[in-house]
Symmetry: C2
DNA sequence: AATCGCTACTAAATCGTTTTAGTAGGGATA
DNA sequence: TATCCCTACTAAAACGATTTAGTAGCGATT
């Protein structure tokens, strides 16, 4: 990647800015506005914030204030206000990384709720690095965020402020976990494969750092056992590396195929790895779903349009995000009166498409 | 989606929080720390910030201060500091939406640069809604962000602070555009298809709201004309709707196929729509690439693992993000001395995979 | 005639820093 | 001995809001 045409414009630096300032009006302070109106800042503050004390201010004074505020485009300085009222209307969000599809969907849900509550959020990606896992919460807390939403992120700190962890499984005081009903998810997935006749089912485990990895596998094993089949440890492979690319699923299934073990179905950790798995199978001359069924997880946008279209366990990621945000805002509003919900769980659904089929051998 | 097990924990609300506070130490202020040390806040501020004035402070006093600060876990209050020094170390980022893959990749690049500069960022998604396009910049400016990075977002305001627009094409004072060399991209794409023998090439235009839509098509037409072929308007379809799903590409190509026009190649606006296009073609019984070649754009993670693997024009999205951030930080550091770069451009590359092939009919 | 209450405000403190302007005390210099 | 400089600090203002505590003026009540 190269840069080209770094074209600096001349004479554009000073003038337009000054013009813009003069035109738009330099941010004016409450004090300046008060002087202009020959009133005290107190009065303006009361009126502009519609404080109870403003009830004694006559309407025409109020009108004068509002008019002047609009005219001079007065915007209260958020820093000053936040400092005074000890409230920032800001939360922190910690994600593993943004471009994995998963976090972005959750964030969409978070944002949808925050927006209507006039909250903004600061984001940080920890990239699974220990130093960032340590530093990011600090950084956010220093910035006076009121609470933290973590997505698929281990919590290593004792929270001094409300924390909601999406896909968190550790019980930590002060941390609310928003989780998928993994038992149900496993039932749906294994049930589906079982009903199609599959008995030798390979499982792609998630990476060690993923919060869902452990419970997901356990629940799958339980669901399989319930149907009288076991998940053969030799058919269990684990994703390696932290790339958000299908490559990790591809490699995992490659090594599985190399082992020579026989299987008719694959239950992947997520859609991304399912896509990689399919590539590996096809390269070996196996057809999906005729020879091997592949079951994804998450239902990302691409799942429906992959070739073959992915049968998958849908996680309501957007909703998990919005629930996380709602829960956090509630906890903030309640102070410490409402009690801290330990866990909120959401239900998966199965979306049957073309990557799974009845066993034919 | 339903909620279940909203399990509130009893008696957990008061105690652990108080404990945590007592344990971790309530955030202590500089003043309190100063009282404890029997020094003035000034002295502490000088020493802790390693200000020039601290040169007259003897080393053992400095040590006392640092030790106490560590012991009481002193963290300067960002609001207070920012208010005083008129600097927030925060920028605003505006994206269309996070889960389209594109924005997330750019954001990764942005974050990689900001992190090492000790900057954090506030994010807002405008979802192509006019009201949000208006409101988000206001909101961010109110929060005293030092600058704004917009991603594929039309700028409707006169910027009072530095703005960098990734994939922006409008010349606006104070806005630096980070853009792809679209001429080169079109050359690569059309050249590739042309060399494979394709003459009747369908083009999937982007949505109207996408900043790249117009120039992309123009450059494609130019590149085609240069080779003596024209892009038939009847072979030009436009993505409709703002879903980040392959569905929009699917619909577009469906309607193209319904028109009965003949073509051997498709140049898609992005990989997502290319994936939708392939689905539409396959549904019509056409093989990709044997009957129709499909060329994507962006090179998202899934492109390499789609079936067939997508030949695509790679945009260095991560780099575009990091360049945007670097440019913005430079502009912030320079004040208005350095001049405002109007445009920085980056080069695409073509990644040839399996979705394009030599024409066979 | 003193008190009360109401209206329509203002002064000053406060949030937690940084920064400007001093200053007390001591030794060296003229 | 007066002046100057240096060391090691401190007091107070400032950033821009909100909030607490008043207060001046006036009409109504006791």
């Amino acid at each position: 990647m190269q840069l080209s045409h770094a074209v600096p414009r001349k004479n554009v630096n000073q003038i337009p800015t000054l013009r813009a300032k003069a035109r738009k009006g330099d941010p004016i302070s409450l004090k300046e506005l008060a002087i202009h109106l020959e009133l005290s800042p107190t009065t303006l503050s009361w009126v502009l914030n519609d404080a109870p004390a403003a009830s004694s201010i006559p309407q025409d004074t109020k009108d004068r204030i509002h008019t002047a505020a609009r005219k001079f485009n007065y915007r209260p300085n958020y820093l000053a206000r936040s400092l005074r009222v000890q409230k920032t209307n800001t939360i922190g969000v910690i994600v593993p990384e943004l471009s994995d599809g998963y976090s972005a969907m959750v964030l969409n849900g978070v944002e949808s709720v925050l927006a209507s509550a006039e909250y903004l959020y600061l984001t940080g990606s920890h990239l699974h690095r220990a130093d960032l896992l340590e530093k990011l919460p600090q950084l956010l807390i220093e910035r006076q965020v009121e609470g933290i939403i973590a997505v698929d992120t281990p919590i290593h700190f004792e929270p001094m402020l409300p924390v909601v962890n999406v896909s968190g499984h550790d019980e930590i005081d002060g941390v609310t976990n928003v989780i998928l009903n993994h038992q149900h998810a496993a039932e749906l997935g294994i049930g589906h494969l079982f009903n199609l006749g599959h008995r030798r089912i390979a499982v792609i485990k998630g990476q060690e750092f993923s919060s869902d990895t452990k419970i997901r596998l356990e629940m799958i094993q339980t669901a399989a056992a319930k149907r009288g089949i076991a998940i053969d440890p030799k058919l269990t492979v684990q994703l390696a590396g932290d790339s958000p690319s299908p490559e990790v699923g591809y490699s995992a299934v490659k090594s599985l195929l190399a082992s020579g073990e026989d299987f008719t179905g694959v239950f992947a950790f997520n859609d991304i790895s399912a896509i990689g798995a399919i590539r590996a199978l096809i390269e070996m001359g196996l057809r999906v779903p005729e020879d091997v069924s592949v079951l994804g997880f998450d239902d990302i946008y691409a799942a429906a349009f992959h070739n073959p279209a992915l049968t998958t366990i849908r996680q309501p990621l957007f909703e998990m995000g919005s629930i996380a945000a709602k829960t956090l805002l509630e906890r903030l509003a309640n102070g410490f009166e409402g009690g801290v919900p330990q866990e909120v769980s959401v239900e998966p659904t199965i979306v049957v498409r073309q990557s799974t089929a009845r066993i034919s051998r």
